[in-house]
């Protein structure tokens, strides 16, 4: 990981990276972290580590744009819009019980219309095979096990792999997966990185990826005594 403070000038080949600077996040009245910074080069992956509740999921939600940050900025370094797609996978799978696997994937591919998929059917077919979903492609999602559902959700992420510098934000992607499926995910992740895609992954389990970086959120945590936002401590009645 290149700490932003020590980064050299951005080389032109790195113009499509992703950065985050001075980021602070307040959730449920607590300052989860502050002055958080990192920089991703195209093709790199960042693992977020830390105990439950430290703010991994919140960081991913801030980066995805759901949660406004209290301070700081994050974003793509690319001046070109077409290279700046964000794909997010949270704890929930986002599957409808009465739709089949194929219908689900078709729907989400259509909805992500801006992605420049040059061969959507081929992509989908390959991703289905990667995760071993081809046999159950016509099965409604309510008949799937937890592991199968997670694989469908990952397949949906995998379909979004065609753009140059898409950023994947994944929150515990390998929950409920067995070793074989985790291998499949590692392969899809590697393919994504080869094309210049980046990923930020919060995980408790071990995901093998070459040349990865780790970010320990706890490093950026503020102690409650110094936290001006702590549950409205700004409403200090003694001041």
């Amino acid at each position: 990981m290149t700490d932003l403070n020590t980064a050299t000038n951005v080389e032109s080949s790195n113009a499509h990276g992703y950065f985050c600077k001075d980021l602070a996040c307040v959730r449920g009245g607590r300052l989860l972290f502050s002055d958080l910074a990192f920089r991703l080069k195209p093709g790199s992956v960042l693992f977020l580590t830390g105990p439950n509740g430290v703010g991994k999921s919140s960081l991913l939600r801030v980066l995805a744009g759901f949660l406004p940050s209290e301070r700081g900025q994050c974003g793509f370094e690319s001046p070109d819009y077409w290279g700046t797609a964000i794909t997010y996978l949270g704890h929930h799978d986002g599957l409808k019980p009465l739709l089949t696997v194929s219908e689900t994937l078709n729907f989400w591919i259509t909805l992500s219309g801006h992605l420049d998929l040059d061969a959507p059917d081929a992509t989908r077919q390959r991703v289905l095979e990667d995760f071993g979903l081809a046999p159950i492609a016509d099965l409604p999602c309510r008949y799937l096990s937890a592991g199968q559902r997670r694989r469908v959700a990952l397949a949906r992420t995998g379909c979004a792999a065609s753009t140059q510098s898409a950023l994947w934000l994944l929150d515990e992607p390998t929950t409920s997966l067995d070793r074989a499926s985790i291998h499949a995910f590692e392969a899809v992740l590697a393919r994504h990185r080869e094309k210049g895609g980046m990923a930020i992954i919060a995980t408790h389990s071990e995901i093998r990826a070459d040349d990865s970086d780790t970010l320990e959120i706890a490093r950026f945590k503020t102690a409650p005594e110094h936290d001006p936002f702590y549950r409205g401590q700004d409403l200090d009645m003694e001041a």
């Binding site: 759901f66 986002g94 259509t110």
Partner: protein, 221 residues
Amino acid sequence: MNRFVALTAHDVRLSLRHGADSLMVIGFFVLTVTLFPFAIGNNPALLTQIAPGLVWVTALLAAMLALDRLFLADFEDGSLDLLVLTDMPLELIVLAKALAHWLVTGLPLIICAPLLAFILNMEAAGFGALVMALALGTPTLTLIGTIGAALALGARRAGVLVSLLVLPLYIPVLIFGVAMVDAAISGFDIIAHASALGGFFLAALALAPIGAAAALRQATR
């Protein structure tokens, strides 16, 4: 445009596969309306007098039935997050879902209405105006409903809360809708009422998605 159609089709497909939404709304509508002749007893003249109001109030309540689930399923299973992240404008997403909701609940209401007006002994002159008024009014009800559903997303007792938020805004639609049918029965011109209903629809079409989208963004934090 393609994505708008895809989202609407997706929601309609889901509702049809569940089957419950449409049937529940129509079932409620029919059952409630058929209760009134029993309650009012052998008094067809009274029924005729209040028929337009009855049909409208019941249609209103039926329309509210399925509202709290407009966004709830997507919110709970994580699909709403994914929808917000596609770069389709959230207002357009709200419109697509509203359209799907209306196709599945409002349209059946409009189709059933003449039958129910007949059960309530409504005068024949009012049938056409009733259908037209409902056709103009039910989309407005759905659109206003999206605001309530989005605001109350994830709340305790969301169903009651949505009704509380949305009913006051329904009152003008109700007033003009019933007045339109009454005017037709009395032989007056209905163009003024139709224009008012149309005006409400256009205002809701323009403003409701903005409010609902803002509420959805608060909900998905």
